[in-house]
Symmetry: C2
Subunit: 385 residues, 2 copies
Amino acid sequence: MPSIDEVAARAGVSTATVSRALRGRSGVSPETRDRVLAIADDMGYVASSSAAGLATGRNMAIGVLVPVVHRWFFASAIEGVDRQLRARGYDLDLYSLGGHGTNRERVFHRSMLRKRIDGLVVLCMALTDDELAALHALEQPVIVVGGPVEGCRHISIDDRAALRDATEHLIGLGHERIVHLAGGGSFGIDFSVPRLRAAGFEDAMTAAGLPVGPASTLFGDYEARTSKDVVARALAGDPAQRPTGVVASSDEMAFGALLAAAEAGLRVPEDVSVIGVDDHDFSEVFGLTTIRQDPIAAGERAAGLLLAALEKDAAVPIDQPATEPHELVVRRSTGRAPVLAGAAQGAGSGSGSGERAARGPIDRTGSRIPSRPVGAGLSRTRSRA
Amino acid sequence: MPSIDEVAARAGVSTATVSRALRGRSGVSPETRDRVLAIADDMGYVASSSAAGLATGRNMAIGVLVPVVHRWFFASAIEGVDRQLRARGYDLDLYSLGGHGTNRERVFHRSMLRKRIDGLVVLCMALTDDELAALHALEQPVIVVGGPVEGCRHISIDDRAALRDATEHLIGLGHERIVHLAGGGSFGIDFSVPRLRAAGFEDAMTAAGLPVGPASTLFGDYEARTSKDVVARALAGDPAQRPTGVVASSDEMAFGALLAAAEAGLRVPEDVSVIGVDDHDFSEVFGLTTIRQDPIAAGERAAGLLLAALEKDAAVPIDQPATEPHELVVRRSTGRAPVLAGAAQGAGSGSGSGERAARGPIDRTGSRIPSRPVGAGLSRTRSRA
DNA sequence: TTGTACGCGTTATCAA
DNA sequence: TTGATAACGCGTACAA
């Protein structure tokens, strides 16, 4: 509440000295420094951000642009960014597009231009060309977490490899009729992450000589609800034809798949295996096998790189690759493919199923969390009344 | 990027006129106004927040203080606050305490005092006395969403009534051995919401003449994981003794209960009923009966009240009650209490169970979402191989 | 209706 | 090591 003059007056020095002392600048004798600090602290003085910002050109704040906040990935990444920022004395301004809304316009052409922030972290979003131009017009360092954005450095897992690994996990367990439960770009805007993940799925399938067709993709739209419905439909068919493995592009979608299986009376993993991507907060309780990523760490790292660039007064170098690790976490939702007598296969050519099935469960990366002896999966038959 | 002088120069007027025109002040001829607006827009001019803030004392930004962002309630409330703020041209500064950390100190004694914000929305938190004092020292309007905070107006559901309703729903279905799956204050700091909810549970139980003892409370700590473990233990006992109904103080905990039941081989709701509080994003897919609340709406409303106070240049009036609605949403996780031959009851006195059970399922509030004919619950016996 | 000039609270430059 | 003082970019009385 007090201003710097009041502190200066009480300390019997000039405002310049107070400023220097408080900011740890050199050129202040230890005695006056300590005295000023004590007095400022006593008076509860904190420099006004607006005034300091005006004078220095730095706001000690960075913006975080998100499509929505209440999804696991975004909420976690925000948490990570915040952690790094707070530790380094920066504030965080949140720009949420909150669904479709008209606030996109306001955010891009007003809020972000008010010079309240020194840099921007963009979380995994689909952007229009216009918005992309607005970003660059910011003339501030920008870094992206989650998906490639043209002209910006981005931090993310190798989405393609992630889905390849997930798919290979099921293939290694002998599965052949595998479907990909895919997400999609929201807002009808083109976005590359879903495509990369789909490509990873196809990589693994074709490499194993397994058929990939239109029927091998289910569209879950990154939602548990939608996923449940679409998987339920896929599971309803002929046992000899229906998929024995589901590779979901996100854990939320995998949850939907799990519930669909349970309601269809199918056992997991005996009848159908499900693997996701994320390692969502709920995945462990669900016993969901998944490809783990850590958005909190990614957020921290992104903010760290941004701040580094800021201190050098430069743009975030775009050249260096910045791939976050992902790892397979084996839990209870995946297991050996069921052996069906006389199972007819779609259009498959190639390698006999026997060979693959014979390999048995392989935890290539090793399971981070020891597979617990918890007897049943989700849909286990009841054993008592 | 351009400053107001450049706009003024290009428009051939003074900076004062530009300022007036841009802010919609009177005293500018329509022609010059339009011309200035056009030019400003063309140049992409946006007033610097620091400079404007310094000059006016208003920052057009409000702070949101949260314990963590990646929980459903907080993420949703943030979304709501953001929506309201953005619509009214305000920015949102996020202050996350991110778990325990030392940043509590930094947030309260540094960030929040930098005069970047005009008001504060506090999301459901346990605060130390010191922190509470810091809040009041802000001398800015403050409003709380979620739980009562001394000296601040707060927006929340009637937590006690909510749990009473939840419990009565189970009682109405004939349940007698009901446990409360409770949350707790984090950080070891006293917090009233868990207490209010526990009280609501006890209200309903005692009103129905049902016994409430230490054994009727399980501590789930607001986590699915913990809840699953503790419920699993409670469900493991003698079928004639174990609870037939679980009232969870949050949906996340209810999910844990659901999974525990499934893994124990119990059917929901035939063997055990589960009801939660929240109507979490996943609750519908889970078929979870719950007491719905809408944190997005609460956030919007809170921000609205805060802005209203701001415009009157006053504190948020603390007197007016501001209770958000809650409602019972009946889905598939609750049903009639199982009838057990020779079931022994704990310490129960009073009213015969027959009478209550005879009443059958009652949807007092009516189910918002029509109970779907989806055959099975989570743990249904498989019907096909 | 428009322009001039001062103040907002800090930081930074330059002398002392 | 310190202290005046001029920016920083904008809003707004006040004067024109």
